[in-house]
């Protein structure tokens, strides 16, 4: 029998993996991907708890989280392109040029 705890622990694990990715990687695209992993961990929690409570609200929140993730990816990648055009690099070190 799969219990709620199984899903919640998997989700905590995914969130921790996303955190490690943000700290260890030096590529701005991989950083954005790590953020996507964390968002998905939260999505899994919403769906699992929504199923446990027998309500569709969990899936509706997931829908909104996906919308926010799409907006975040669009703006984040536009920033990446703008900065790459400026410095020919994807390293977060190059983002110091944001300090005027």
């Amino acid at each position: 029998m799969v219990t709620l705890d199984h899903y919640l622990i998997l989700s905590a694990l995914l969130f921790a993996i996303g955190t490690v990715g943000v700290f260890l990687r030096r590529n701005i695209i991989t950083l954005l991907l790590s953020v996507e992993i964390m968002l998905n961990a939260v999505n899994l929690t919403f769906v699992a708890v929504g199923r446990y409570l027998g309500s569709v609200d969990g899936q509706i929140i997931v829908f909104f989280v996906m919308t926010v993730a799409a907006a975040e990816a669009a703006v984040g990648l536009a920033l990446v392109i703008a900065i790459f055009r400026h410095g020919e690099t994807l390293s977060p070190d190059a983002f110091t040029s944001l300090k005027w």
């Binding site: 700290f23 590529n27 992993i37 199923r51 975040e72 390293s91």
Partner: protein, 171 residues
Amino acid sequence: MDIWLFYLFALVIVGASLGVIGQRSPMHSVLFLILSFGALAALYVQLDSPFAAVAQIIIYAGAIMVLFLFVVMLLNASHEDDDPGARAPVPVGVKVSGCLLALLLLVELTWALTRVGRPAVEKDAASADSVSSVHEIGRVLFTDYAFAFEVTSVLILVAMIGAVVLAKRKV
């Protein structure tokens, strides 16, 4: 049977997520993440949430990840070690403290999330019908959450304009 399917998909998800952060080529990271999203959609199906599963495949794996792939190919994103802008590797202190923080987060999240006891997710067939009903999702989305839904469209518009302005050559 269910539990073995869960462990299989959980293994794929965790393995693919480790693959995303574990190696240095952005292209491979994106492909690993698509694999992870596919397995996650399978878990959603197990949770009687076909709407979330289909949205996961179409929106996440289909749209957002293709956007990432476009950018990786457009910028010809190099191997992380070949990046001329990377001044120094991540200091060991940052690596260790980052891993420690993530470990703490994992322990704390697990503790906090499992306070609800050990109930089975699949309780009865009746609630499975109400949860998996797309009809019910549509009704709730356009009545109770109608305002949030409209605000979402504004958010998308703002993101679209922001992306165009940021990526334009001359502002």
